[in-house]
């Protein structure tokens, strides 16, 4: 699949935004976190901005952004539609919780429940996003049960890293958040490694032989593509990445997105707020870069069955 930057940006940014939202809810409900106004303002602003920018990016990516509302109508069957609906719904409790936290400096009681509702909807949104990919049988590397866990785990991890940076930047202590961010990031990468090992080890589900039905004649090779000219399908879905290149990028993603943030977040727990905030910021930036690479690879490494008609052996 061609890694379209808007989609990569959307999924990572809004994933982090939803993750942060989740952590704000969790912190309010389970950790009785004080409703620090400026922290709340910054955190909600960042979370909602990431979500909104992500959603806008993907809307502008549409052929007809002005008709985007139509995308909310087929929630009964379409994960994309569901994602849109839930994403819009999430704004309601999230907005209210933000009002409570920032304007009223309250995040307990009903405000906590609003926060929790926003967190749950955030989880559902991320799940819906993941399901858009996971449900596509035509892309076997996505059509595995590990895609949704990966998306959720990375949303939680990146949210935690942001949350951690926030609390340290505002000097709120809460050193546990460093451990949480480190643990979740490590856990997310564990899930991702499982995903990678699954897709690497999976037997091809479809082949040039099954795509053409000509396997009984022997090995099937593309002799001539329909056109020497380009086409939409190949631009969108024909992207190929060399194995060697992919492996290098995986390592980069793992270091930037996993190892470095884990070490930095864990290390930050041992540091005073200001220094911790600095380190946590580096963790966020590093993780962000790593995640962009991870997401880029998620697309680039996915082989669409269409490519079986254009010279690829197996998908």
């Amino acid at each position: 699949m061609n890694p379209a930057y808007s989609v990569i940006f959307f999924t990572t940014a809004s994933g982090a935004g939803y993750g942060l939202l989740i952590w704000l809810g969790v912190a309010a409900v389970f950790f009785d976190m004080p409703a620090h106004r400026w922290f709340g303002f910054a955190a909600f602003a960042v979370a909602l901005a990431l979500i909104t920018v992500g959603l806008l990016a993907s809307t502008l990516h549409l052929g007809h952004p002005e008709r985007a509302w139509r995308g909310l109508t087929q929630w009964r069957s379409s994960w994309l539609s569901r994602e849109g609906v839930v994403a819009v719904l999430t704004f309601i409790p999230a907005g209210l919780a933000a009002i409570g936290w920032v304007l009223l400096t309250r995040n307990g009681g009903v405000w906590a429940w609003l926060g929790a509702a926003a967190a749950i909807l955030a989880v559902v949104t991320v799940f819906c996003t993941a399901m858009i990919y996971q449900s596509l049988r035509a892309i076997p590397r996505w059509n595995t049960p590990w895609v949704a866990p990966v998306y959720l785990a990375f949303a939680l991890a990146s949210g935690a890293l942001l949350f951690h940076f926030g609390v340290r930047a505002f000097g709120l202590g809460l050193a546990w958040s460093g451990w949480a961010a480190a643990t979740l990031t490590a856990a997310a990468w564990a899930v991702k490694l499982i995903y990678w090992s699954r897709i690497d080890g999976a037997a091809a589900r479809s082949t040039a032989e099954s795509a053409t039905g000509l396997g009984h004649l022997g090995k099937v090779r593309l002799f001539e593509a329909p056109h020497t000219g380009d086409n939409y399908l190949m631009r969108e879905m024909g992207y190929k990445i060399a194995r060697k290149h992919a492996r290098r990028l995986r390592i980069i993603a793992l270091i930037l997105g996993g190892a470095l943030p884990v070490v930095l977040a864990a290390g930050a727990t041992q540091l005073p707020d200001l220094a911790a905030a600095f380190v946590a910021a580096i963790a966020v930036i590093s993780a962000g870069a790593g995640l962009l690479v991870e997401r880029w690879l998620f697309f680039a490494e996915a082989v669409h069955t269409i490519s079986l008609y254009y010279g690829t052996d197996a998908a």
Binding site: T73, R76, R221, F223, P226, H227, T228, G229
Partner: protein, 976 residues
């Protein structure tokens, strides 16, 4: 809940109006000439579909025909006459008015005609109006006229016409409905494009016929063959002769057929060294003789009810019934055939290695042919009467059919190879029988064919028409167009001792010879529809040099004046001095005549017209109108009336209706006679074109069932053919297994007769003019041995692209925007090459760089590419970075027009009998390009500037948006 809401959201209009008007005409995107219905809406072309009632295509269309809209609306179209102002080859032109253009052309041509008409060389490309252009040339008085046949497939035409009075090409077709075994030699697409596809579809649907394709490459038709034989190029003759060997050894030959329909029993003099050696034994009236087994006498071989011997050797002096003038030993020609092909040199084992087809396969194919012919015999209960008036209650068929085209013809041994195939057909008794190969009327015609060409200098005079047509058929040395000293009369040397049977002329030599002033200089080169500086040159780079070469003495170009008619900004345009822009095929009258290249089917004759379906939106004129106008301005007798005014003031449409070749026979056969009641012969009918238009722009007639087979010996058909004016008289046409005209040339070479070749050509003629088919290695093998140039290099026609002009077509160029060199995987591996690598391809004559694609369905010694995809940068109004130019390439840079000198003489790279260009003799080697070398094809040429008047090419094309309902948002978007 689950009711689809979407059903409510779209109201699909399932019955939108398609068009305001449908006009029929004839497709021109190739020479197949299918009938089309052009749907017009608001004056624009909405859709072009096949005409269901048309005899050629019966409703189907090919990819090119379907892309006609893009051809018509091409931004590469010329729009006004152009006069060259810069140096040749730079596209520096100014637009001029037609008055000036016509005046200039008339002045140049009149000068030539007044002094020496030979100094006009008029050559037309793959033109479909040779009836007119050839006639015009002969009226002008120049022998220097030809169309494209000489570089295309004259080997097939000549071998067929001299042998069976018809030919492959589009002059015949397999009996698709009945054949059980079909052999196809060297066809990728052919002129008979849609009928072949439809025919193969029929074979496939029937399920029990077998289709064998003999072709070094397994694509297209070969891909669906039941068996593909990946033969080594240039060796089909050997393969066929090995089949003949097998059949003769098994006695699997249709002797009855040979006796009845061929010259197998005709007696031949066996008198080595004598002037009549190898000629037929004839009586005083010129009739060939045979030995009658019943009476044991010599009899007229054309007589009915004789029982002629097919073998033996007879001493004339001991036979009764012999005219006094005969003596010596004679044998039936079939005896010579038996002696020749039962020789072990033709055994499957002897040819297997050379052809690349193993001996067991050759033996099996021979057995299958015999099985199909003799065990699966067809009988049709249609009574018919033969030439001698004898009634037969059945038609017996040998359901084996064959078709061959340029894979055979484009080799220097193509004429003889094609004759070998016709011999195989005759031995199996499968020509024009049910299930066999069938003639399309007006064929068969007598073999050897007529008329003879005119053009010796004693036949020419200033301001005087020639006494005959410039192209024709010679049947012996006396008919050649050579001067007293044996030198060629024509600029292209056609019909000279070098290429005696060059029935279609030799367009591929015009530029070379005009440049070299060999045999003489010319003044004006007038060309129509031929991209001679590009894909139809055998040596593009050199041709460009010759077109631009300046005579240092005069400061003039060595080819002083070039007039050219094209419809598009092709690679040839920059090399002309005066451009006469043509219309597109949808803007003009045209005529597809039985006098030219007919569109008949085996079941009946047909001809057709084109009518203008849209009016030109620019200042262009149909070339045929222009030519007729020039004819009148020059005062060519047939083009002016008594008063000296134009005889065909109405242009080509007028000519089509009113011109008569012989009394009552004109370009069109349908609706003749004043009231249009006559077909074939009849007075001109002023309403003829209207009748054609009413009938879908074609005329066709069905033969009666009894006329449909054995046309060469079918009384009713022969009578019909004579009545139509196609053959001089309703006499049997005897198939020429043994070719006497060939023997006449051989005798001349051996020193007999009044007309003998110059010494330098004797051996060549003696060797190649064998009256029985022979095989010899293609000439190129002498210069490119297997060690230095191990690979054969071929081109194939892509089905979805037409020659050079497909590339301007926005739709077709997406399918074939550039080409690669296809190589067998093993061969590629040996050369260290993989897919997409760039490689140098080298021949003795040049070097190109191309991108590689590996395949398995290819002869290992063969590389190939799609023909004419490569374009010159800046031509055809394509972007200068168009892939056609940056990645596409021509093999032509590797080919040569003249072979290297042999005994001091350079012959054309052509068949020694017909002069057919030997495109496919090319041998090459592959060398991997260095990693640093640019990913671009080589050679590249200076980028051409756009011509004046050529439209800006659109960045986005949204053809068809205009047909959406007014106000539709998608229609608005198209204003970009």
């Amino acid at each position: 809940m689950s009711q689809s809401t979407s059903l409510k959201t779209e109201n699909v209009d399932t019955s939108p109006p398609v068009s305001d008007e449908v006009k029929t005409t004839t497709c021109y995107m190739c020479a197949c000439r299918c009938g089309i219905n052009v749907h017009l809406r608001d004056g624009a072309i909405r859709y072009i579909e096949g005409n269901r009632n048309h005899p050629v295509n019966k409703g189907v269309l090919c990819a090119k025909g379907s892309a006609g809209i893009m051809q018509h609306y091409s931004p590469a179209r010329l729009s006004k006459p152009l006069k060259r102002v810069g140096p040749r080859g730079t596209n520096e032109f100014v637009e001029i008015e037609w008055d000036e253009a016509m005046a200039t052309a008339t002045e140049w041509l009149a000068d030539v005609r007044r002094s020496d008409p030979r100094k006009l060389a008029f050559f037309t490309g793959r033109d479909q109006s040779q009836g007119l252009t050839g006639f015009w040339a002969s009226q002008f008085g120049t022998p220097n006229y030809a169309a494209h046949g000489g570089f295309c497939s004259v080997n097939m035409a000549a071998a067929g016409l001299y042998t069976i009075g018809g030919s492959f090409w589009e002059f015949g077709e397999p009996d698709w409905d009945r054949t059980r075994y079909f052999l196809m030699f060297g066809v990728a697409e052919d002129h008979d494009s849609n009928p072949i596809k439809a025919g193969l579809g029929k074979l496939k649907a029937s399920g029990d016929a077998k289709f064998v394709s003999i072709n070094p490459v397994r694509t297209g038709y070969s891909a669906i063959a039941d068996e593909w034989l990946g033969i080594r190029p240039g060796t089909d003759g050997l393969f066929v002769l090995a089949l003949v060997y097998e059949l003769l050894h098994a006695g699997s030959v249709d002797l009855e057929y040979l006796v009845r329909y061929t010259n197998a029993p005709w007696l031949v003099h066996r008198a080595p060294g004598e002037p009549h050696n190898g000629l037929f034994v004839r009586d005083a009236d010129g009739n060939p003789l045979a030995f009658d087994q019943n009476t044991r006498k010599l009899v007229n071989a054309l007589a009915a009810d004789i029982a002629p011997a097919l073998q033996g050797s007879f001493d004339l002096t001991q036979l009764q019934g012999v005219d006094g003038h005969l003596s010596g030993t004679v044998v039936p020609s079939f005896q010579l055939l038996l002696d020749r092909y039962r020789d072990p040199q033709y055994a499957p084992d002897a040819v297997a290695e050379r052809t690349g087809i193993d001996a067991a396969t050759i033996r099996r194919i021979a057995a299958e042919l015999a099985h199909a012919a003799f065990e699966q015999t067809i009988e049709i209960d249609t009574p018919w009467t033969d030439w001698a008036g004898r009634r037969h209650d059945k038609m017996i068929g040998r359901p084996v059919s064959m078709h061959a085209m340029r894979g055979i013809s484009a080799h220097s041994n193509g004429f003889q190879t094609c004759r070998a195939i016709h011999m195989l057909q005759m031995l199996l008794g499968s020509i024009d029988c049910p299930g066999g190969f069938r003639y399309k009327p007006p064929f068969p015609r007598p073999a050897p064919p007529g008329p003879k060409p005119a053009g010796r200098s004693d036949q020419l005079a200033p301001n005087t028409p020639m006494p005959g047509p410039p192209l024709g058929f010679v049947s012996g040395p006396e008919d050649l167009l050579v001067e007293a000293d044996g030198s060629p009369s024509r600029i292209d040397k056609a019909f000279s001792w070098e290429y005696p049977l060059a029935a279609h002329g030799m367009m591929h030599l015009v530029i070379r010879n005009a440049w070299a002033r060999d045999p003489y200089p010319i003044d004006v080169l007038f060309m129509f529809m031929a991209n001679m500086s590009w894909n139809s040159a055998m040596n593009t780079t050199e041709t460009i040099e010759m077109l631009t070469d300046v005579d240092l003495d005069t400061g003039e170009y060595r080819i002083p004046k070039i007039i050219y008619s094209d419809a598009f900004s092709s690679e040839m345009v920059p090399y002309a001095d005066l451009i006469l822009p043509d219309t597109t095929y949808l803007e003009r009258w045209d005529c597809i005549s039985l006098l030219d290249r007919p569109i008949s089917s085996a079941d009946g004759p047909a001809d057709a017209i084109r009518q203008p379906v849209v009016a030109p939106d620019r200042d262009v004129r149909p070339f045929q109108d222009v030519l007729i106008d020039l004819g009148a301005r020059l005062g060519l007798p047939a083009f002016v009336d008594e008063a000296g005014g134009p005889r065909y003031a109405g242009g080509y449409a007028d000519y089509i209706v009113n011109h008569e070749r012989t009394p009552g026979v004109g370009p069109l056969a349908g609706w003749r006679g004043e009231d249009g009641a006559l077909h074939g012969r009849g007075a001109a009918n002023p309403n003829q074109l209207a009748r054609y238009v009413e009938n879908g722009c074609f005329w066709s007639e069905e033969l009666a069932p009894e006329q449909r087979y054995f046309k060469f010996a079918n009384q009713s058909y022969l009578q019909y053919s004579a009545d139509m004016g196609w053959i001089p008289e309703a006499k049997q046409i005897v198939l020429q297994l043994y070719s006497e005209p060939m023997q006449k040339f051989r005798l001349a070479a051996q020193g007999h007769g009044d007309h003998q070749p110059p010494d330098a050509h004797r051996v060549r003629i003696e060797t190649h003019f064998d009256p029985l088919p022979i095989w010899y290695p293609p000439f190129e093998e002498d210069f490119s041995d297997d060690d230095t140039y191990p690979l054969h290099a071929l081109t194939q026609r892509p089905m979805a692209m037409y020659q050079s002009w497909g590339s301007q077509n926005a739709w077709l160029r997406q399918i074939h925007g550039w080409n690669k060199l296809y190589v067998h995987v093993d061969t590629a591996r040996e050369a260290g090459l993989a897919d997409d690598d760039w490689a140098w391809v080298e021949s003795p004559y040049g070097r190109i760089k191309a991108q590689i694609k590996c395949m398995t369905g290819c002869n290992r010694n063969t590389v190939w590419t799609w023909n004419a995809i490569g374009k010159r940068r800046g031509s055809w109004n394509l972007d200068v970075n168009a892939p056609e130019a940056r990645r596409g390439f021509l093999l032509n840079h590797l080919i040569t027009d003249l072979l290297p000198p042999k005994n001091g003489h350079r012959y054309a790279n052509a068949d020694p009998v017909t002069g057919q260009a030997a495109w496919f003799d090319l041998k090459v080697r592959l060398i991997k390009a260095e990693p640093g070398e640019a990913s671009e094809s080589v050679p590249q040429f200076p980028v051409l500037e756009n011509l004046p008047g050529v439209e800006k090419r659109p960045a986005i094309l949204r053809y068809g948006a205009r047909f959406l309902p007014a106000g539709n948002w998608r229609r608005q978007r198209s204003s970009s």
